[in-house]
């Protein structure tokens, strides 16, 4: 694993540097507050790597994904992706960006245009980008369908003729049709039946090896994240609280929130976690985040220092960073 001191190496496929995304929210007549959806996040994804991004509602992971895709403008910081720069100035070149990063969406029932055949959904982008024309388009469409486990005759059907799992396969095919380097998977299996999830997870992993892809896997399901990720980042209320290799995060989690997430998972075989690991109370509103460490209102280890000073990501082990004043002690 790369030493974090060499973070801004040109080797990274995706390099996010101190990204902030704020949304102004009207709080009454002429009063505005900033909703800090993403509040100073720095991350890298290396080629061929799968980075798991974990967090609960309001943590900013979806906004982060949209910013990487160029769909939401950063308020501060920059994103470097395969030679493109997304910053606070002019909007990015969407056509060029489309060939570098794509997304697999959560809801297979809402992510396909009901009035288009599968063929059109897959062929239009090819034509739009001038990648193929005429007969070659059909060949590529058929090849992609085969790759995701569907048959050529499926191309002429409409989305409503498919099951949830099949629709997700089509969504994956669409994300891959332009051969991007990075694929953001936003909760790709949470809307699917449990018995189908394994199929899709296996498919995603196969495709990653087959097509030499990198993934940013956003999920609240820690079991899935542990299974697919090489590295994991944990977000809470717009900030990163912990990053590290998958083994480090799951075997020796450094941040109380990470421990609380793991403790909260009802697992079939693990014993019920001790109450001391759990987080109490509700996630605070992102409009009024607590001062200092955002997590202190729910943290079993909270001290005065936590309210006064915001912790920064510190190295606790090789490539394992934790943002907690008591990280080293608690390991």
């Amino acid at each position: 694993m790369l030493d974090p001191a060499q973070q801004h190496t040109s080797e990274a496929l995706l390099d996010i540097d101190a990204l902030e995304v704020h949304f102004p929210v009207r709080m009454g007549f002429r009063q505005h507050r900033a909703l800090k959806a993403v509040d100073g996040v720095s991350l890298q994804v290396r080629p061929g790597e799968c980075l798991g991004l974990v967090g609960e509602s309001g943590c900013g992971k979806s906004t982060l994904a949209l910013a990487i895709m160029g769909l939401v403008a950063p308020t501060a910081g920059r994103i470097r992706l395969a030679g493109h720069e997304i910053g606070t100035e002019a909007p990015p070149d969407r056509m060029a960006l489309a060939r570098s990063v794509q997304m697999v969406f959560q809801d297979p029932y809402a992510s396909l245009n009901p009035r288009q055949t599968v063929r059109r959904t897959l062929a239009d982008p090819l034509r739009l980008h001038g990648i193929a024309n005429g007969g070659e388009v059909d060949d590529r469409v058929a090849a992609m369908l085969a790759k995701v486990g569907l048959r050529p005759e499926h191309a002429d059907r409409y989305p409503h003729e498919f099951s949830g799992g099949q629709r997700q396969r089509i969504g994956i095919a669409r994300a891959l049709i332009l051969h991007p380097k990075l694929v953001i998977c936003d909760e790709p299996v949470s809307a699917l039946d449990v018995s189908i999830r394994a199929q899709i997870i296996n498919l995603l992993l196969e495709l990653k090896d087959d097509l030499d892809l990198s993934y940013l896997m956003i999920s609240h399901d820690l079991g899935v994240v542990e299974h697919v990720s090489d590295r994991v980042a944990v977000m809470y209320l717009g900030r990163l609280v912990e990053t590290g290799a998958w083994r480090q995060i799951f075997d020796t989690p450094g941040h109380p929130y990470t421990r609380a997430l793991i403790a909260a998972i009802p697992d079939l075989f693990l014993p019920v976690a001790a109450k001391t690991q759990k987080a109490t109370g509700e996630v605070p509103s992102a409009l009024h985040p607590p001062p200092g460490c955002h997590f202190h209102t729910r943290c079993p280890m909270k001290q005065d220092l936590c309210v006064q000073r915001e912790p920064t990501l510190e190295k606790v082990d090789l490539a394992h960073l934790v943002a907690c004043h008591f990280a080293v002690q608690s390991r």
Binding site: E56, D193, S195, L222, D267
Partner: protein, 327 residues
Amino acid sequence: MNVGAPLLEVVDLRIDLADAGLRHAAVEGVSFSIPRGETFGLVGESGCGKSITALAVMGLLRPPLAIGAGRILLEGREIQALPQSGLKRLRGRRIAMIFQEPMTALNPLSSVGRQIAEMFVLHEGAGWRQAQDKAVEALRMVRVPSPERRAKDYPHQLSGGMRQRVMIAIALACRPALLVADEPTTALDVTVQSEIIDLMQELCAEKGTAILMISHDLGLVARMCRRVAVMYAGRLVEERAAHDVFRAPSHPYTQGLVASMPRLGARAAHGRNRLQEIKGVVPSIAAYPPGCRFHPRCGSASDVCRKVPPEQTGIEGGGTVCCYHHA
């Protein structure tokens, strides 16, 4: 615990779905029983019939769904054929229900304190003042901070976890014998979910309320329940102690489900292996296969499986399974 008659008994339940003149058996041959004070899990994927089974127990089925056959006994009395007036007397007092989406189950135009207080007024004949005090106590019981102030809030002012606590307060207000919970935590964050489950367990243990927990989340049900019934395509395929169902499942479907889920710690222990898949898809109601409904996806299917649906048979260690080739 009363070892006598079970609190809830469902015998050979069939629920029919009327669809343009045809009648499909959405749920068929379902039998299980819940003793007093026990937590019982009903688990399965979407479309397996678990939610409509819960609705049938509450008497809340509406056309095109209706109970086609079978019996439901609450405290020894048959309730499946009770008219709405009889059922209304039971609901809230003997059986209560909480739902997945509290926003649609709570009245958006009424403060939460009022909605809880209504329970006391309706079922215990309390006066409004007394009922409102009891409502604040109920909020305290479900661990809502500053209950006197929260009682005046409207549902939209509360977070998802808070609303679910309010739902629990309403449901448990009159100490029902049975709490039916239909995916109560699916819409909540995982840390909040954990707290709500703990709360439910504690409160119900305290009051001796049995829980019928409906969920698609195997882990949740395993953690929370003593006994678990697994449903697939409208049939009950396995019903055993939670511990046994997940450590050593007997039905191929349950085996497939458990094997297909990525488990924390598995990769560290065994390396990353390809997840075991269950091939095929869940059949739709209109196209249930003949014989055992799982046979097209089953690795052990044989001729008899394709023709004759298996019966619920007892297995050693207690419980039943519905399969010719069970483990």
